[in-house]
Amino acid sequence: MIKLVDVSKHFGSHEALKHVNLEVPTGQKLVIIGPSGSGKSTLIRCINMLEKPSSGQVIVDGVDLTALRAPVAKVRQQVAMVFQQFNLYPHKTVLENITLAPIVVCGVSRDEATESAYKYLDRVGLREKADKYPAQLSGGQQQRVAIARALNMHPKIMLFDEPTSALDPEMIQEVLEVIIDLAHGGITMVVVTHEMGFAKEAADRVIFLDDGLILEDGTPEHFFENPQHDRTKLFLSKILR
């Protein structure tokens, strides 16, 4: 479903990703863990080409997005992203946030988009907020709306870049529960997170990124019980006090 071949990314002289190879099969729940600045965001943003790799190939759903004139916008409709800062459209109501792209980009009818929007609002427990504006919601509620917005694209892949890092502690759980619920379905998921509990509970696979390199790659058990590298052990000892 997702394939990164020898992907490198430079920012000036800084090398944020170093010849990364990664294959994510359909339906897998992949969690990316790593210290700050290790390249987690850069990696996940390469999957939908918000960052263009300096070299290497990104192949999503059989389409090479790094090829000349690749249909990037078309593929992005299938690859929904949830951002750390939610990035809801502040001038649109919750319902409009969720229906805008399906109507304008995908050409779904307004009725159909609205009906499925309510379905996903139910799923994240926010049906009664449909007519509110993002600024009228708490952080946790905004992120759940962002997840509903992503779901209403009926994506094949969902990308989460630290979806709970901007939230007050008491709101983290409500968002994680929604994501864990999604993880029980068949969708392919890539999640950057510092929530180790989430990784243990929802991930099929964990990769540990350090300084632009994948140091660990395996099951959550492998990662937490039997890490191979000293860097990983050091990171885990700091984070799992």
Binding site: L50, K74, M81, N87, L88, V104, V105
Partner: protein, 235 residues
């Protein structure tokens, strides 16, 4: 005392004498006609300036080099040469290059102020777009919006709030700048006033009245700009 009486003579003769005012008011229709031409040129010129300014403002924030360079060139050219030269170019030079081309003077006025203020509005639009956080564009394109679609549905509606006050100021400047038409006999308010004044030498009352009419067109807009600015700051 006699000196004071002598000074009252300014009511009978001199640049602001009563007969001059009377002459102006009995020919007031001339100024009304001119004001209507000015309003026409200003409104169509503003429409052109908004269209150009939005398109070029969007181009100047584009990720591609060619539209960015074009926008930069356009803005620098029109901001750094006098409006008067641009109008003369259209008025004098174009008919030499295309002898069969006939452009009505009013259309020259519309193109002149439209293109000139389009450059300023492009800068206003660019600043407005850049005031919207990067995350908005990223969210939009990650949903499959094209760059132009993201601008249209997500970025520009938000930028609108920021750019409305400076846009209104541009409208005020545009109205005043339509007065360059007077130099190419454009039939606008300035031209109408000036030719009337010149015929009989009624400069004093006419210029005061013409100035007052421009003021009445511009002042409400200037007030509106201030109100919008206060509202934006409050939000």
């Amino acid at each position: 005392m006699s000196e004071l009486l002598a000074n009252i003579g300014f009511l009978q003769e001199g640049p602001f004498s009563v007969p001059r005012w009377e002459a102006l008011f009995s020919n007031f229709g001339v100024l009304v006609d001119g004001a209507l031409v000015t309003l026409l040129v200003a409104s169509l010129g503003l429409a052109l300036a908004l269209a150009l300014g939005t398109a070029i403002g969007v181009m100047s924030t584009s990720q591609w080099r060619v539209p960015r360079a074009f926008a930069r060139g356009y803005v620098e050219f029109f901001q750094n040469t006098p409006l008067l030269i641009q109008v003369f170019m259209i008025y004098n030079a174009l008919p030499i290059i295309y002898p069969r081309l006939f452009i009505p003077v009013i259309a020259i006025g519309i193109m002149g102020v439209g293109m000139y203020h389009g450059a300023y509005i492009a800068e206003v639009v660019r600043a407005g777009i850049q005031s919207i956080g990067r995350g908005q564009l990223e969210a939009a394109v990650s949903q499959g919006f094209s760059y132009v679609g993201a601008m249209r549905y997500i970025i520009i509606p938000q930028a609108m709030r920021v750019v409305l006050p400076p846009l209104t100021n541009q409208a005020v400047n545009l109205i005043k700048n339509t007065s360059v038409l007077a130099i190419i006999a454009g039939g606008d308010l300035m031209y109408a006033g000036d030719s009337f004044a010149g015929r009989f030498g009624h400069y004093g009352p006419t210029y005061i009245m013409v100035g007052l009419i421009y003021f009445l067109m511009c002042f409400p807009l200037a007030m509106l700009a201030r109100r919008l600015e206060e509202r934006t700051r409050a939000a």
